[in-house]
């Protein structure tokens, strides 16, 4: 892999323009999914201000610049709920769209009741009802301290109906608890575990798209809170890596969140490869990691140190497409020639 060449190729203005003017969305979709993380801010800006704003929002919602959001027309905003949820209630009021039915993410529980009363939703549409509960639960959680154990439940039910400001507040509230807990558990050992299709893992993955509307810092905090447990008996902090994440990613989450998950996976990989080098789980995990690294060309954006760590934990995925020539040589020396790229 030649990073500078890759960056140049991904940011070729002509080919981006061509994709933006293409008859279908498919080429842009494919391009963003394979090179999205490598785009410069300027190119991201030009995609978001083009007619393909919807597809860019769907895949790279996390990377929409705030100033671009301010300039977007109301009609475009309303057609993309991800964008609406980024705005504050004040911003919506300024744009005079506060009365639109589609901005339910910004309504209070009482306002949602009024919507039900006045708009007669279809019997199958349980969105307003669940949104009411989400609002109430959110207010309660913000006013009263909730323990960390409840965080996944709160996140599962509140985040799908919350806007950016609310999600930020909710995460910050739990982050305080998380920090307190970390201080108390300073002397605990940290261990890593794979989560296979558990309720927690599924919840985390289903919430990931909503996490694109908050800042990368909040996204990383969310993952820490959601995927960390404290075993006070054996004095251990357990970080759970959600297996199957690669199959559920049809968009590009914040790259920093991806780094966090990859570094956890590397820790699992290093421990497992020592104990059970031929374990099928290790093979499955390395496939998952390779897919995550390929997503949006993340491998070329990753810090070299993290890539090297990945290579050491999963020598099987090391190849010239995911790693630089220098890294491959280094890994060959560290892991032994035969063990790289099996």
């Amino acid at each position: 892999m030649n990073i500078s060449r890759l960056l140049k190729r991904a940011n070729d203005e002509k080919s981006i323009k061509k994709m933006l003017c293409a008859a279908t969305e498919a080429p842009l979709h494919e391009f963003l999914m394979s090179h999205g993380y490598l785009l410069t801010e300027e190119n991201i800006r030009s995609i978001f201000t083009s007619v393909r704003v919807n597809i860019a929002t769907e895949i790279m919602g996390a990377y929409m610049p705030d100033d671009v959001l301010d300039k977007i027309q109301n009609a475009t905003l309303i057609s993309a709920p991800q964008l609406l949820r980024r705005l504050s209630r004040k911003q919506l009021k300024e744009r005079m769209i506060i009365n639109d039915v589609r901005i339910t993410s910004h309504r209070t529980a009482t306002e949602l009741c009024a919507i039900i009363k006045n708009c007669i939703p279809s019997l199958k549409n349980d969105y307003p009802v669940t949104a009411i509960a989400a609002r109430k639960l959110y207010s309660y959680c913000i006013k009263n301290d909730c323990p960390l154990d409840v965080a996944p439940y709160m996140f599962k039910y509140v985040i799908p109906y919350a806007n950016r400001a609310q999600i930020h507040r909710l995460i910050s509230r739990f982050w305080q608890q998380y920090q307190k807990m970390n201080e108390e558990a300073r002397q605990y050992d940290i261990s890593y575990r794979l989560e296979h299709s558990t309720e927690l893992c599924n919840t985390f993955l289903s919430l990931l798209p909503c996490i694109s509307i908050v800042s990368p810092r909040d996204a990383v905090r969310f993952a820490h809170i959601m995927l960390t447990t404290y075993d006070c008996v054996s004095q251990r902090i357990i970080k759970r890596f959600p297996m199957g994440a690669d199959r559920r990613l049809y968009f590009l989450p914040h790259h920093r969140l991806m780094y966090l998950l990859l570094s956890w996976a590397a820790n699992i990989g290093m421990a497992t490869s020592v104990l059970w080098p031929s374990s099928p789980t290790l093979k499955e995990l390395s496939d998952c990691i390779a897919a995550m690294m390929r997503l949006g060309g993340l491998y070329a954006r990753m810090p070299s140190a993290l890539r090297l760590r990945m290579g050491m934990a999963f020598p099987g995925i090391v190849n010239c497409r995911l790693f630089t020539r220098a890294e491959v040589s280094k890994l060959k020396v560290i892991k032994g020639i035969d063990k790289v790229g099996w």
Binding site: L123, A133, L137, Y140, V150, E199
Partner: protein, 341 residues
């Protein structure tokens, strides 16, 4: 059908005692086929026996209030149907308001506290949806809502409400219904059969909850839920939910059943159906199933039975109609048209 003989057979004390001590399946079968004919005394006997969970499941609409007062709290807590009959005050008196099983009596804030303190499994969305139900309930009771929204409110509020809340909700919407009925006094009444529609499914799924309220409220609930007003054609439309018979694994209030059977007979009588139509015979079978449930046919007023017999001559037979009624129907409809199925 000989009604006095049937009543005597069903209410035979020795047999009921035997049934109470038999496996729950046997008691269940008996209640499902003769429940509507049981005397109050016998219902009371079963409710105070070990068969309480079976009867509460099938005939909770018929739980006498005084029995509820005498029951031990642990027995009540085992059967959510009974818990929901009590008021918050009654539960508080029994000092069990902190029990999770009484969550139908919690306020929205208390339910949030339950979520906070109990670390529920992620899949358990009951407390979460109950919060929304409470909030929606309070809003509707305070601010009222239109009749068009009533089915939506019923669908989402009733599964989490207790008896006093359901009563209040139904009463609030009943006021709207009465206003509307007064405003549409000159409208014609028409009937439509509702198959697998959303409203029909919502009605059927909300039906078990109406066993918690009085029969008057249950009837009002059906009126509000199943009546539509067509202002363009100036018609009041009563929607008969077809498929209800298959969904009934309990005995709803008999007055509610009368109403639905009456509407079905009304729909057939207004010429909505054609005599040789396959739908007509399907609806006839559906009415017959409803009449057989808990032996409702023997409890029904003779006038209603006759109305059903006139509307659906195909279902007239000696097990569901008295000898006198059959003779009368044979004269009215013509001998060959009675019991042709």
């Amino acid at each position: 059908m000989n009604i006095p003989q049937l009543l005597k057979k069903v209410n035979d004390k020795a047999r009921i005692k035997e049934l109470i001590y038999s496996p729950p399946r046997v008691l269940r079968e008996f209640l499902m086929s003769y429940g509507y004919l049981l005397s109050e005394e016998n219902i009371r006997d079963i409710f105070t026996s070990i068969g309480i969970t079976v009867i509460a499941d099938i005939m909770s609409a018929y739980t006498p209030d005084d029995i509820l007062d005498d029951l031990h709290i642990s027995t009540i807590l085992q059967t959510p149907q009974l818990v929901r009959r009590l008021s918050r005050k009654q539960i508080k008196e029994r000092a069990s308001i902190t029990d999770l099983r009484t969550s139908s009596h919690y306020t929205a804030t208390e339910l949030c506290a339950v979520i906070k303190n109990c670390s529920l499994p992620l899949k358990n969305d009951y407390p979460f949806t109950a919060i929304a139900a409470r909030k929606l309930y309070s809003y509707v009771v305070k601010n009222g809502c239109s009749l068009e929204t009533a089915p939506y409110v019923f669908k989402y509020v009733m599964p989490y409400a207790n008896r006093p809340q359901m009563h209040r909700l139904i009463s609030r919407l009943w006021q709207e219904y009465r206003k509307m009925s007064k405003a549409t006094l000159d409208y014609e009444i028409g009937y439509t059969f509702e198959g697998n529609t959303e409203i029909c499914n919502a009605f059927i799924s909300a039906l078990p909850h109406t066993s918690m309220v009085s029969s008057r409220d249950a009837v009002r609930f059906a009126h509000i839920m199943l009546t539509a007003h067509d202002h363009t054609r100036r018609r009041i439309i009563k929607r008969v939910p077809i498929g209800l018979a298959q969904a009934l694994d309990f005995l709803p209030h008999h007055k509610l059943m009368y109403l639905l059977i009456f509407w079905t007979a009304g729909a057939a009588g207004t010429g909505v159906l054609w005599p040789e139509d396959s739908i007509a015979s399907a609806i006839g079978r559906y009415v017959a199933a409803m009449m057989r449930l808990g032996h409702l046919c023997a409890r029904m007023p003779s006038a209603l039975r006759l109305k059903v017999g006139i509307a659906f001559p195909g279902i007239v037979n000696r097990r569901m109609f008295t000898r006198a009624e059959i003779s009368k129907l044979a004269v009215i409809r013509g001998i060959s048209n009675v019991g042709h199925e």
